[in-house]
Symmetry: C2
Subunit: 362 residues, 2 copies
């Protein structure tokens, strides 16, 4: 039995997340775990149902493996893989692994989650599009859940400006839900990734959607709630974000608009009232800067292109022209321009007449 | 020279507020102050211009006195008068005295300031009306500046439910501005008071309006900003409120509505996002309760009808019917009903089946 197959069998066990697995692992390797008896598994701390699921998981694992090899764009990343996003490792119950289609490298780029109502107002939908487009232009990946309404608009906003976007599904990747988002899903795969912690054959269940939300939020530096009614699933996402010490942003609306009530509730509870992308950047800047300075060369950083120590070293204490920085760094001017904008947002450089200067901390 | 005439002469001196006067008074009585030489006045700390204003103030004082005796509804309350509102005494620069028409007793009742744009949206105007009506029904006096837009709607909202309201003017009470609010002003005088710190003959000057705003805010337990553009005079009111440690409430709106931008800015700076009157009551309840318990019989309390120790004494530790409470207190049932609602808001009594019970603190 190879390791991949073991991982896939473990993925079939409901409620088996990283924290649970870590508590089992000192005793057994994952291969041994898959061959253990019911008695052994229960002694290790699995429930009866979990033990049964694991022991009956071979067929499901084979189907998942078949899906994986059926298309070169399909992948599976267990939590031990260096490509597994570090921000997701930090949450309370990180998924054991992620199934995906598209570019797995996008997982480790800086992400903003944009979530909200399935039945937004036309203004809400438009705001989701605009915020996503503007954030994607700044280099953020837009992460959401591919649901109708705000989620779909957020993905579309990123795609419209050739930005990157991630859709996290509440079911296996063999299936498509909602059906009207088939074309959108294909575009997301082409410009980002669609992913799920569920086995590819797994059908949607209502209880999977809130579980899925924790991944959307867990991947992201911050979560923007565009419109949400008073008792909305989007509020669950916001509570996850607060639980993970991630920023929560909420767009206000008229108190006459029931789709703004959830956002107002969040703002009263401490979410940042958000009028523009600048409000988001302002809040995240210290975090982006801290990451930049504390992990300048860390390979598995969640901010890889903000952590370009090489580029930063080419910016002087006196005004340095963008062309010169690009020349020194041996990088295309276009890439350097974007990277410098990000470094500026992160507070590492400042735009001055004649180019950029390095900002040094006291 | 009588004391009233001295006060009126002092009222003619620009920039002479209570704190300034208090710094002068140990040396001279107000009568001596009015007869002092330029040299003496400047030695005491008045500027040259202030000294000149005081020495040339007799004509203005006579005109003010003429206005005072011309109508029995006109009054002047110097800051030493027990009718001077204690909350206003607490601000940084309390006015030396207040000219008014209407019922001066309203000054010491619990007030909420409602302020905002002169050019609100129709929804903003409607919200000002509704919040004012609901707060007035609960027994709060609605205080504002009689300006076009939100101010006017706030006064109207209070009047519509036979509530009380105070208009603070940025000019003397001989004049009327804005002209379209003439009828409204008469209604306010009949159901509350119109007041000003300016001598009755004083014409409006643009710089008087922000100065006036400090009185609107200073009289009130909290200030509600309904709609305000980014650089609005209403923000000045909110900053006064924050400076005086008074609560600031702001109603959010669509980020597409420029008249909501000022409110959003205030919320970002710590004002309470306000969706309903309940949000206001929730924030003020501890303060109302504290006042109730710390000054139960203080005559000059700003919460006189909440401080009705007599009424409170008639509420038992077991359910007491409203009729019985009214009977015990020898008060009309209607008055007792309102007073009990206020005591409930303040956390002093609780509504239970069969009437009210006394809430006692640990």
């Amino acid at each position: 039995m190879d390791d991949l197959n073991c991982w896939l069998r473990l993925m079939a066990v409901p409620g088996l997340d990283v924290s649970k697995l870590v508590s089992l692992r000192p005793a057994l390797s994952i291969a041994e775990l898959c061959q253990a008896s019911t008695f052994q598994l229960q002694q290790l701390g699995l429930t009866g149902a979990q033990s049964l699921h694991l022991q009956q998981s071979q067929k499901k694992a084979d189907a998942a493996q078949h899906w994986l090899v059926s298309d070169s764009s399909h992948w599976f990343i267990p939590h031990t893989d260096p490509r597994y996003p570090p921000l997701l490792q930090q949450i309370r119950h990180p998924p054991l692994g992620l199934f995906g289609c598209g570019d797995p490298a996008v997982l480790c780029k800086p992400q903003i989650a944009i979530v909200g109502s399935r039945r937004p107002t036309p203004t809400g939908r438009q705001l989701a599009l605009e915020f996503a487009a503007e954030l994607a232009t700044l280099g953020f990946v837009i992460t959401s859940g591919l649901a109708r309404g705000i989620d779909g608009a957020a993905h579309q906003g990123a795609l419209r400006v050739q930005g990157q976007t991630i859709a996290v599904m509440g079911h296996g990747l063999c299936h498509l839900y909602p059906p009207q988002h088939q074309a959108l899903q294909q575009q997301i795969i082409a410009q980002g990734a669609v992913l799920s912690e569920f086995l590819p054959q797994q059908h949607a269940k209502p209880e999977f959607f809130p579980i899925r939300n924790r991944i959307v939020v867990g991947l992201s530096l911050g979560t923007l709630v565009v419109e949400a009614a008073e008792k909305s699933g989007s509020l669950i996402s916001a509570y996850y974000a607060a639980d993970y010490n991630r920023e929560v942003f909420a767009i206000p609306g008229s108190i006459r608009n029931p789709q703004a009530a959830g956002c107002h509730q969040l703002i009263q509870q401490g979410a940042k009232l958000t009028r523009s992308v600048a409000d988001i950047i302002e809040e995240l800047a210290p975090q982006l800067a801290a990451d930049l300075f504390s992990n300048p060369v860390e390979k598995n950083s969640c901010l890889p292109h903000l952590s370009d120590e090489g580029l930063l070293a080419n910016v002087g204490d006196e005004a340095t022209a963008t062309d010169l920085i690009a020349d020194r760094a041996a990088m295309p001017v276009a890439d350097v321009t974007i990277a410098l904008q990000q470094l500026e947002l992160a507070g590492a450089v400042a735009a001055v007449p004649g180019g950029y200067i390095r900002v040094r901390r006291a």
